[in-house]
Assembly symmetry: C2
Homo-oligomer: 279 residues x 2
């Protein structure tokens, strides 16, 4: 199988490593707007060659678009027009806008909209990890819009990556990821800014920071060029969750101000119920 | 060295395991208000015997108080009055109230106020981990109030546990931990409640929850009997941080509402600076 990967960063690079090791990919052709990343990917053996998107598309069976979502939305319509037997898939964190953009493409059925639910706070080819997707979930959206052979091929690809496939509409997807992923990033960015604003003794943060702080603030290292388009595209769902989150924080604030132990205890007991859902 | 541990849970149990393995502790005597925990600790070999606090104090060189901070504050004054050569240390997450409570004790100098900066969201003797404190920071507060021999003994104990000791006043300690630890717990509790409130399809949370969500919401599993007293005792510092945090979240909200990419980019770039401090 010949695979083109457009955007050889954390996700594209990790897919390249795993698909090659598991012999799903024969040749991997890389495309990257950043010449340094392209060169690194080549040196690291993530891809066999680097070229432009026209040639990569023409010579491949699957084109994986793993760019920031604003770039994905710009390039997918053109990629689709170039497809004959090829299948194009994306890996973006929002789906509604992209699926709306291509809904009138005569080649819509060559596209499969996907979102593998894995990532770290790092980016670039050097952050790629083999086997990263094992036992994680991936979403395929609006699968009835894809041709059966195209859908089938991408399902195979995700099975090789070791992922559990969940199907839902693009709209449902964007609502759920606002809760499961996007709000965590906003709280983490805001927490980092809170600490940087209030705690002037940076050395003390460094010395005292323990596991709890590191795990809640880890996502604050995430890349703005990836996250700004995501937050903007999904802003309505995110605002809905963000308003609820601020309301929840205000309840904690009220408990402390009024020394209301009973209510604080109720809030924490309720929060503990998350254990029921997350192991 | 004979060591008494009052409260044989996550912290007390982990200290017992490590101090015994590293041969700092000869005999370890356990005290626990929960008979099930006491029995588990005995069965697991965390402690050699279980008794009441009077006897444990009389027969030990060091008494480690590892109970929730409200209990610690109740029992430390009585423990101190019983000390001759013994040293009492606590491991609580707030320090100002406790140090004020015992400031007039005729035996104040037998006490060393400490806070090892390590924990997990789990509790009870079965959550104890050997070597858990290695290369973490521990705080010793108001060290000039402790007798030189008492301070020296507890410094040795923390060196055996592999911890880096930081010295500060009880008041400074409580300000810093509000930023570094307590606010992370509140945001995590509030995030869990947000998701539980808004996302009615629990199965979808379960299936989609990825690394980012799990790491930000992990602390929401924390035990209320430990955390309610901490949040209440440190409420003034925490309210100060919480107000700033809500203000920071409102900035993200305003960016999304007004589609202000420039400001959003500034906020995220600022948050990224946390990488400078945390590795």
């Amino acid at each position: 199988m010949r695979i083109a990967i457009i955007g050889i960063g954390l996700i594209g690079g990790s897919m390249a490593l795993t698909l090659r090791e598991r012999k799903f990919a024969g040749t991997i052709i890389g495309v990257d707007a950043n010449p340094e990343h392209a060169e690194q990917a080549l040196e690291m053996g993530l891809v066999d060659e680097v070229t432009n998107w026209h040639e990569a598309t023409d010579r491949s069976d699957i084109i994986i678009v793993a760019t920031p979502i604003d770039v994905t939305e710009q390039i997918v319509p053109g990629l689709l027009l170039r497809c004959r037997h090829q299948v194009v898939m994306d890996v973006g964190s929002t789906k509604k806008n992209l699926c709306a953009t291509i809904s009138n493409s005569p080649q819509r059925s060559r596209f499969v909209a996907t979102h593998p639910m894995w990532g770290t706070e790092f980016s670039g080819p050097q952050s790629a990890i083999s086997g990263a997707f094992d036992e994680k979930a991936t979403v395929i959206c609006d699968q009835d819009q894809s041709a059966p052979d195209a859908l089938n091929l991408i399902e195979q690809l995700y099975q090789v990556l070791g992922m559990n496939i969940i199907y839902m509409s693009a709209e449902e997807h964007d609502v759920h990821v606002a809760y499961i992923s996007h709000i965590s990033h906003i709280t983490s960015f805001a927490l980092a800014n809170t600490v940087l604003e209030k705690e002037k003794e940076e050395n003390t943060i460094f010395e005292l920071a323990s596991g709890g702080f590191e795990s809640t603030v880890r996502l604050a290292k995430s890349n703005p060029s990836m996250w700004i388009p995501i937050l903007m595209q999904n802003k309505e769902n995110i605002l809905d969750v963000l308003n609820e989150h601020i309301a929840q924080l205000r309840k904690f604030k009220a408990c402390l101000e009024k020394e209301n132990y009973t209510y604080l205890s109720e809030l924490i007991n309720r929060a503990n119920e998350i254990s029921r859902i997350l192991k």
